[in-house]
Symmetry: C2
Subunit: 438 residues, 2 copies
């Protein structure tokens, strides 16, 4: 494998979060969180920054660890974007009731015999920003590296849960029919894998589509996807699709629909297209009108867009960690927040109830036994009924209604797949929930 | 001239605003403001937009009229950007005292025998957004096409006046010495035209530098400048500089410094570099800390940046028209606004007093007789002592202290040079000032 394809492989791992075993094998043991601190490393300092401190799109370093510890907070500096306006109103208040006992909470990491403290888990997970709400108040808030309360960070696939929620809302409003075929709304996809898939199958990712996320295979469709969207540089002479929609039109059916959960980012881009057709708005416009303006978000967010202006519904949201937590808090409160019913309670109930566990089990996620997937949320079915938005490299919104707790976290873990941070994330979140309930 | 170079020629005209006679000769008579309304033309509508409604960076259409009527309000959708944060506070209040008599104000366009109304001048100038403050209250506010109170628009060279003001402020604070050579702060420029130019000469654009803005000449340095900064696509096999700083290092001396005003955008990029070295902040950071946060701006602004993250100090600011007007109002009020002294009064006084008229006269601006240039502001020396920030295609901040009036305007005139809109702009602004004084 050439240096170029190694870089691209790591880029792919970082982008899509699958197949990171191979990426791991290619890398030296990664720098620790402390040693990869982006301020300490001096990324982009200087006028101009020296060559070895420069992060650029053209060589893909914006998607390479440890540069990602800086770039994940600065994606608009590399790519075209659209604004997600927060509106003109005051931010919704965030009462504070900070607790000093949280750092000492202990838990047992998955698959390990010893224990770890909450404070230790932050470094283990390369946490960039984290906020914990308990009963609607901030009980814990930390920022690392280049992050701060007003700094935005890429949410990766946490993005999907925002649009899954909005998609399900459009279904509840009758603007999309979950039983209808995708091709009813998007005739352009009639001859693709999505021609005979339903809206519901897209929302739950049970579509049979030939789309490999095995980045070790240079012919995997995942390469075509991110190149088409312009998230990584295209090689000279590139002649493939130059937009997300253009790429979606190339997808072929493989297997049957509705039989198994298969996490493929293209489903979220198809959902974005469905939302566009069902609402008459782009996903970014709808996100502003339905969520950002109504929740009283503190800062504008933004979306990565392609050469046709289409937002990357599969992973292109950039926002502050507090605003992510506000969204989680709205979900905890059955869709109500800031004095309004933002999302129908029935939609939140449907997400809480989850999808079919038997569908999910076929995907073989070792760190998520007994979980399911619904409306682009990950549902634990644990004793607390917790559900999550999950994005590669450690992005998360964790809603534990029984504990009246919401956690929002940004990270820049060197390994993309959350299987690498789940062992020090999931038991930590659960231990904190139990601690707060005491 | 090939189609490509024609396009690039027009792009250059739109970018830098000089030599538009040639662009004019190349074009059919441009569409009127009504006929080029971007909503009516349907730019970027659809999922995806049809090919003939698509505006893209790759073919330069983001810089071509009539697409500019849409793209000037959407530059972040084409290029990497950095945020100019407004802070967390409430926006400074803008009291309203709207007047219905303004549209009927008449004036005589320069070089014409008839009269025109204020309302007619808006269409004549392809106005996208305009706001008029009188005695600190909004007396007039209009939006056209895709603009709205919260929408941002590229300010083009109005950007320069923000950084001229900040540069002069750093001089007043002793952080930059106006008599020092540029090379004292930027050794990298020692062997360029700027090696023996002073900070003051840069601020007033009296530097002798071989830099042609004649876009009809395919070898003009202006092409190298915008290609280096990444504002327009680079041809295959491009091997020139890939950053603003990289380009500045190529500039050679031509003539003497300090003898004549010569409007060259590179001076503003050198000023940006000086600000970076003098303040330790990027120009965008300083603009946020010193202006955006302190004035209580309504919306975040943003800067276009190059591949090294350097903001385009010569023309890369994007902001709302109200926030531009707030800056103008602060200048009218001798640097005080929102309960604070934002810019030293001595700096505003120095700008009001202007530069040497004899230096300015050598540049031969037919629509600006008796004017001068100081700290990157255009000073009229008229009876009211009005001074202006001016950007190509009709961007303007007009400060008339005697009339207690400030006008901020965004436009997307098909012809870049303000000489094409000055005849229906300058007498209109002056007539409105006199009307408001009645």
């Amino acid at each position: 494998m050439t240096g170029r394809s190694t870089m691209v492989g790591i880029v792919m791992a970082a982008t899509m979060g699958l197949g990171t075993d191979a990426a791991l094998a290619q890398q030296q043991p990664p720098l620790s969180a402390a040693d990869s601190d982006p301020v300490k490393m001096g990324w982009m300092i200087g006028s101009p920054p020296p060559a070895d401190k420069l992060i650029q799109f053209s060589n893909g370093s914006h998607f390479s660890f440890p540069q990602t510890r800086w770039s994940f907070a600065n994606f608009r500096r590399f790519l075209p974007t659209s604004n997600v306006w927060r509106g003109d109103g005051a931010a919704s208040p965030l009462p504070r009731a900070e607790r000093s006992d949280i750092d000492a909470v202990t838990f047992q990491p998955l698959g390990q015999s010893g224990t770890m403290t909450w404070a230790e888990s932050l470094a283990a997970n390369y946490t960039d920003a984290i906020v914990v709400f308990h009963r609607g108040k901030i009980v814990y808030e930390r920022y690392f590296g280049v992050m701060s309360p007003h700094a935005t960070h890429i949410a990766m696939s946490v993005t999907k849960s925002f649009f899954g929620t909005l998609g399900a809302t459009l279904v509840a409003e009758g603007k999309l029919d979950e039983k209808a075929l995708v091709s009813q709304y998007i005739p352009e996809l009639k001859d693709t894998a999505y021609g005979d898939a339903t809206v519901r199958q897209v929302l739950d990712m049970t579509v049979g589509v030939k789309y490999s996320e095995n980045y070790a295979d240079p012919k995997a469709e995942i390469f075509d996807h991110v190149r088409a969207g312009g998230l990584v540089p295209r090689p000279p002479g590139y002649s493939g699709p130059t937009s997300f929609y253009g790429f979606l039109k190339t997808l072929k059916k493989e297997g049957q629909h509705g039989e198994a959960f298969a996490y493929k980012t293209v489903n979220s881009d198809v959902l974005g297209w469905l939302i566009r057709r069902g609402s008459g708005k782009t996903v970014g416009e709808l996100l502003s009108e339905r969520i950002w303006q109504k929740l009283g978000m503190e800062q504008d967010a933004y979306m990565l867009i392609d050469s046709e202006g289409t937002e990357f519904a599969g992973g292109g949201l950039n926002a502050t960690v507090r605003d992510l937590a506000r969204f989680g808090e709205m979900m905890r409160l059955d869709g109500a927040y800031n004095g309004q019913q933002i999302v129908p309670k029935a939609v939140v109930d449907d997400i809480r109830n989850g999808g079919r566990k038997s569908d999910f089990e076929k995907a073989g996620y070792k760190t998520l036994p007994g979980w399911s997937y619904r409306d682009m949320w990950w549902v634990s079915h644990n004793e607390h009924g917790a559900f999550m938005a999950r994005g590669v490299n450690g992005q998360a919104i964790y809603v534990d209604s029984k504990a009246e707790m919401v956690i929002a976290r940004f990270g820049s873990h060197p390994l993309a797949a959350n299987a690498y941070n789940d062992p020090t994330t999931l038991p930590a979140f659960d231990a904190l929930a139990r601690h707060l309930m005491q």
